[in-house]
C-alpha cells in the first residue's frame, strides 16, 4: 500500500471540463466545488478551500455547520455530491499514507476490551497489512507515541479506565503512529482537562514546527486566536478562510453564527478589547 505512486497530477486527467482553479500543485489540502448532502439536504455547499502547508488551522462554526462532515468528505468517509478534495495534489485514496485522522472521541465505545497500547498500535495496522500481527518494533513505536503525549505509564490500562483527556491523548498517539504530513482532527479539545488541552496544543505546535499541517475542528472561540495561525469559518459554506489575525473579525463571526451571536458577540468583543 505504501508503494503507490504519488505523481498525483496524472491521476485525474481531463475529466473535469471546467478549468481547474489556481493553486500550487502540492498543497496539503485543496478542495474545489465540494457539496455534500445527507438525504437530499445539503450539509456542505460549494466549498472552495486551499490549506497552506505547515499551518495550524482551526475550523470554526456553529453546531451543524458541517465541520466534521468537511473532514469526513476529505477522507472519503461520506459520499460527495459534487466536487473533489485533493491531498498533496492527489485524490485521498492515493494519498492515504500522508494523512492521519483523529475522530471525535465519542465516536467509539470506550468500554471495549483493549488497552491504551492496543488502540495506539492500530495506527500501524496499515503498515502491517493484512493478517500480520503487531510486531515488537511497532509496539515499541506505539510506546514512543504514548510517551510523546505523556501517558506511557497508562499503556496497559483498559481504555474505559482512562479519563476523557487521556482517551483523547490515546487517539492523538494513534495518529502520531502514522507519521503523516496532514493531520485532520475532529474536536480534540472537546471535554478535556486543562493539562491535556495544553499538551495537545504543544503537540500541535511541534507538528507544525516540523512542517506538518494540522486541521482542527474547534469549538471554543475564546482560544481561537491563541491556538491557530489560520482559520476557516464555516456554516454550510465557507464564510471566510485565512490568517487568524485578518479572518477572525466581528463581521465574519456575525456572518458565521448569524442570529445566534448574542453571547458569542460578547466573547469576540472581549477578545477585541484584550491586547493580543
Amino acid at each position: 500500500m505504501h508503494t503507490e505512486s504519488l505523481s498525483g497530477q496524472a491521476v485525474f486527467p481531463a475529466k473535469h471540463t471546467e478549468p481547474r482553479p489556481e493553486h500550487p500543485p502540492e498543497i496539503p489540502l485543496a478542495i474545489h466545488d465540494l457539496t455534500v448532502a445527507y438525504h437530499r439536504k445539503p450539509v456542505l455547499w460549494d466549498i472552495e478551500l486551499n490549506i497552506p502547508e505547515g499551518k495550524l488551522v482551526g475550523i470554526v462554526g456553529p453546531n451543524g455547520a458541517g465541520k466534521s462532515t468537511l473532514l469526513k468528505a476529505c477522507l472519503d468517509l461520506v459520499p460527495r455530491t459534487s466536487g473533489w478534495a485533493h491531498i498533496y495534489g492527489a485524490p485521498y485514496r492515493k494519498a492515504r499514507h500522508r494523512v492521519a485522522y483523529v475522530p471525535q472521541r465519542e465516536s467509539v465505545d470506550w468500554d471495549f476490551p483493549v488497552n491504551a497500547l492496543d488502540v495506539v498500535a492500530m495506527g500501524a495496522y496499515r503498515r502491517l497489512g493484512w493478517f500480520r500481527r503487531v510486531t515488537k518494533a511497532e509496539a515499541a513505536r506505539a510506546m514512543e507515541a504514548l510517551e510523546q503525549v505523556g501517558i506511557a505509564h497508562l499503556a496497559q490500562r483498559q481504555i474505559s479506565q482512562l479519563s476523557g483527556g487521556q482517551q483523547q491523548r490515546v487517539f492523538l498517539a494513534r495518529a502520531l503512529m502514522q507519521d503523516a504530513d496532514l493531520y485532520l482532527m475532529d474536536e480534540p479539545f472537546a471535554a478535556v482537562d486543562a493539562a491535556t488541552e495544553q499538551a495537545i496544543v504543544e503537540l500541535l505546535r511541534r507538528l507544525s514546527g516540523e512542517g506538518k499541517t494540522c486541521l482542527v475542528v474547534h469549538h471554543d472561540l475564546a482560544t481561537v486566536t491563541t491556538y491557530f495561525d489560520w482559520i476557516v469559518l464555516i456554516n454550510m459554506r465557507i464564510v471566510a478562510a485565512g490568517p487568524t489575525a485578518e479572518t477572525f473579525t466581528r463581521e465574519n463571526l456575525q456572518k458565521t453564527y448569524g442570529g445566534k451571536l448574542n453571547l458569542l458577540e460578547k466573547a469576540a468583543e472581549a477578545l477585541r478589547s484584550t491586547p493580543r
Partner: protein, 452 residues
Amino acid sequence: MPDFSDILEVLLLRNYNTRLVVLGTTLLGIAAGLIGSFLLLRKRSLMGDALSHATLPGIAIAFAIMVSLGGSGKSLPGLLLGATLSGVAGIATMLLIRNTTRLRDDVAMGFVLSVFFGVGVASLRMVQSLPGASAAGLESFIYGKTASMVQSDFLLIALVAGAASLVSLLFLKEFLLLCFDDGYAASQGWPTLFLDVLLLGLVTAVTVIGLQAVGLILVIAFLITPPTAARFWTQRLLPMLLISALIGGVSGWLGASLSALTPQLPAGAVIVLVAAALFLVSMLFAPERGVLPRLLNQARLRRKVDRQHFLRAAYEILEAQAGKSETSGDGPVRNVSFPTEVLLEKRAWSSRQLRRILRIARHEDHLESAPTGRLRLSEPGFGEAARVTRNHRLWETYLIQYADIAPSHVDRDADMVEHILGAELVRELEAKLSGELPGHAVPPSPHPLPSA
C-alpha cells in the same frame, strides 16, 4: 434416570451413539463463542437474531424443491443451503429497508425477523401436505434436535465450525479495528464493507450449522451468551475470544450430553441454559468485572477512606490541643484523650456513620479505652494517624507546587487521589520533597485547617 456411569460415558464421548452429537455440538460452541464475540463487539446481535429467523422459509422451500426432484427432501446439505439463501435474503431485505427508507435499524430487523419467520411457519405447513413426502422432523430446526445427527451431518458441522473459527482468528486484527472504530478503519483504506460482509458470512455459517443442534430460535443465544460471559473475566480481546470459545464449547458439550441422557429435553434449550448458568457465574464472580468483586472492592475502598479520615481528624485534633496547627513549633503532639463531639465538628459525619467508623477503628486496635464521651488513640493508632496525616500533607504540598491548584481547593483533591495511590507514590513524593521537609516529622498543613 441415567446412572452415574451412563453420564460419564456420554460426557467422555465413550458412548458410540452420542459421541458424534456431543463432539459436533462442542465444536459448534467453540465457533459460536469466537464469532459471537465479534458480533457482540460490532453491536449486531439483533441482526444475528433476524438472520436466524429468516432461515425458516428457505428450509421449507428447499424441502419442497428436493421432493419435487424426486428425493426424500431430508438431505441436510440441501436444507442448509436453502436456509443460507433465505437468511441472506433476510439480511438483504433489512439493508434495503435501512438504506432506502428512514426507518431505524431495529424496526427493519423486527420486520424481517417476524415476516420471514411467519412465511417460514406457513410454508412449513404447506410442504407437510405435499403428496408422497414426509416432512415430519422439519420442525426440529425451530427448537433443535441433536438426536437426528448422523455421521455426514457431523462432518459438515465440524468442517464449517473449524473453518469459521480459523477465519475469525486469521482476521483478528482487521475485525478488531472494524468493531472498535469503523470510521478510522475506512479512513485507513480498510475495506469495511468487505469485512462486515465477511463477519456476517461467518455468523450465517455458524447459524446455519447450528440450526440442527440448537434450533433457529435459540441459536442467537448460543452466539451471544458466551462472549457476554467472557467479557466479565477480561479486559483484552484475545483472552475474551478464548474464554468465550471455552464457554461456548463447554455449553455445547454439557448441553448435548444432558439432552442425550434425557431425550425428552430439547437440546437447544439445554445448551442455552448451560450457557446462561455460566453467564450467571461470570457475572457474579468474575474477578475482573463481576458484580460481587466490584461491590467488595467498593466496600474495601470506603472502609479505607473512612479509616484514614478518622485518623487524620484525630491527629489534627491532637495537634490543635498541643497548640500547633498551621503555625509550627509549639511543642510536640502528644497522644491524649479528646471529646468525641470534637470529631463530629471536624467531619460531617452522622452519629450512625461515627459509630461505624469507631467500630472499624476499634477492630483495627487504633483506639484505647477512655472515659465515656472521650476517645483516645492506641500507640499503633497514634503512629498510623501521624503517618496518614503526613502522607496527606505531602501530597497536598506536591499538588500545590507542581500542579497549580489553589491551596483552598487542595484538601478535597488530595483526599480523592490519596486513597487510590499506594506506598510507591508516597515514596516518590518523599524523594521529591525531601529537601524541604525534615526527616519523618509530620509537616505542617499547607493550608489553614478548619478550627475544631
